[in-house]
Structures are given as structure tokens and as C-alpha cells.
Subunit: 194 residues, 2 copies
Amino acid sequence: MSDPLATLVGELARLPSIGPKTASRLAHHLLKVSRVEAQNLTQAILDVKDLLFNCGTCNAITPVNPCYICSDPHRDRTRICVVEEPFNIKPIERTGEHRGTYHVLLGALSPQRGIGPKEIATDQLLNRLEGVEEVILATNPNVEGEATALYLARLLKSKGIEVSRLAFGMPVGGDIEYTDEVTLGRSLAGRRLI
Amino acid sequence: MSDPLATLVGELARLPSIGPKTASRLAHHLLKVSRVEAQNLTQAILDVKDLLFNCGTCNAITPVNPCYICSDPHRDRTRICVVEEPFNIKPIERTGEHRGTYHVLLGALSPQRGIGPKEIATDQLLNRLEGVEEVILATNPNVEGEATALYLARLLKSKGIEVSRLAFGMPVGGDIEYTDEVTLGRSLAGRRLI
């Protein structure tokens, strides 16, 4: 006979950043809470599976198709901001600096993991270029994100699209002394006249 | 209209040791996994609520009543090991040193949080003392566990029961230099002739 508690610990330990000890603590917590509380959690889990999907245009996570941003007539359709994952959109929206639309690649290029241009939403982006003036590459500032940005920049420039990349530099409120040398180097190289 | 993803992040953030960032990461992970994987998790959560309960005798978590230990004829019924929580039983079982039964208090005394003897399973323990020779107090080595042990020791000794407490001392494989002074003090006070 299988042990329901051990099964739950095993399922929880499959989640990212949840080790066996945290899984055990969570399982015992769930054992203690009311059934209603447990059901609120399980319903919330199943709701994201059942009610949300990727926007057919930009791949953002949405309960309606097209998503709120793609269907908003006030957004600037000449500027597309390209991100790796759906959850990269919200932080950019919060800045209020981008009034254009988005395109979610659903990944980044990674030859080591066998992820090439066909494995991410590259073709879908190329099919959206009519009337587009600028593509802003907001992939992550790591090896894979940089490789993806370089690949897309070359491809898009060959089609006459203006391509920009998020600026690298010191974080606001940071400290030169504690900024790593790669970031500081990029910050110097990207210096602007004032 | 409520956002299913925000709802899930909120539900996950209610769990112990899950902050808003981890909740967000977990929610996006659950958004990505297959519905079958998500369902395995939700079913495991509901199963612990539906299939497990507290043993009517000792309060251990069990799918049958009485639990496996309480119904095992080979266990020594003259020795009861008292613990705070159901999940304290397994580590003691693993030592193989205790062949008696258990009693789970489902908490510890805490005047600050308004938890007195009536709020934990004290009376239930007193009703189990017939034929019992020794009660081993295995409450946690912290303020609340110690207070609970002292309270129960006085109560049980007044009824002529032998009462013992887990030994305090240096962890096996530890180092005197890195043992805190309180533990080292208890280790000295509890020294044994060899």
C-alpha cells in the first residue's frame, strides 16, 4: 500500500527550488490545513492549466486570444519588444517605457541543449514584421540571451528592421566598488554624453 | 475578472517558507508542465487530506485506526515516547532504539501563544498510563519543548511513572570547537562514566 504522505512529498520535491526537506515541511503543512484551504490551492493549480494559454500572436500567457496587449488599439504596433519568457513582460510593463507590443520567444538559443532557431518562436516573429520599424531585444543578459539577441539582430537587420538591445550598465542605486568588472566594462563602453 | 496566475501565486505564497518570488517561479513552472503532472500534484494534496487522519490512540498520522505502531503486538506497551508532532516519530523509529509506543502532543506549551495543557493532547496521555512504566519525553530542545517536558515530568512523576528526557550533548561527528556553549554545558553536565 502506497503512503499518501510520501507520494505528496515526492510530487512537491519535483518542483523547482523545492528540496526534500522543504517538500516534507510543505507536505506536513498541507496535512494540517483545512480541506477548503487545500482545495483553494489545488483549484488554483488546475485553473492556470485550464483557463490560460499562449496568445496566438505574441505567445504571452492570457485568458483571451489575442491577449490584452495585442488587442489594445492604443499600443504602438511599429515597435515589438522581444523577450524569452511570458513572465518577462510584466517587469517591462511596470517601467512604463514601452508602449509597443511584445513577442515571446518561449526560450533562448542554446546549442548545448539542442535549442536552435526552429525550437523557439523565431518564424512567428518573422511573420509579424509588416509595418514594424523597430525590434527591441530584451532577452536575458546571459550567454544564451546574448546569443539569441545576436542571431535575431543579424536576421532582422538583413530585412531592413531597426534593432536595439536593452542597455547594460550599473544598476541604479548600485556601487561602482561592488559592480562586477564585466558589467562595469559594459557600462563604460555604453557611456552617454550628458 | 480575476487573474488565475495571480491567484495561484497568492495561494502558493501562503505556504510556509515560500516567499513571493518562489511562489511566482513555482506558478510559472506549473503553467508549463503537462496537465497530467499538475493533476498528480493536486491529487497527492487532496489524498493526504482524504486518506490520512490522526490515530485515535497516539495521534500519529495514519491511514488506519489504530495506527501500525499502536496495533503492533510486538511493541513494548510499558514505554511511551512523547513527541510534539507526528513527523517526529519517523526519525526516532529510524534509530531503532525505541521499541515502545508513541504519544503525539500535537503541539507544545507556549504561554505567549496561549497554548496551555488543554490545547495539547495532555489528558489523552494521562488516560493511557495504565501499565506504563516509563514515559520518554522527546519534545524539541527549545524553550517551548523544554517547558512542555518539565510540565509533563512533574505531572507524571506525581503519578509514580518513571520519566526520562532525551540526552543533550555534542552531535556525533561534531567538533568541540564549533559546539555552542549551551550545548557544550549540557554535554558536560550530562557526562557519563566510561
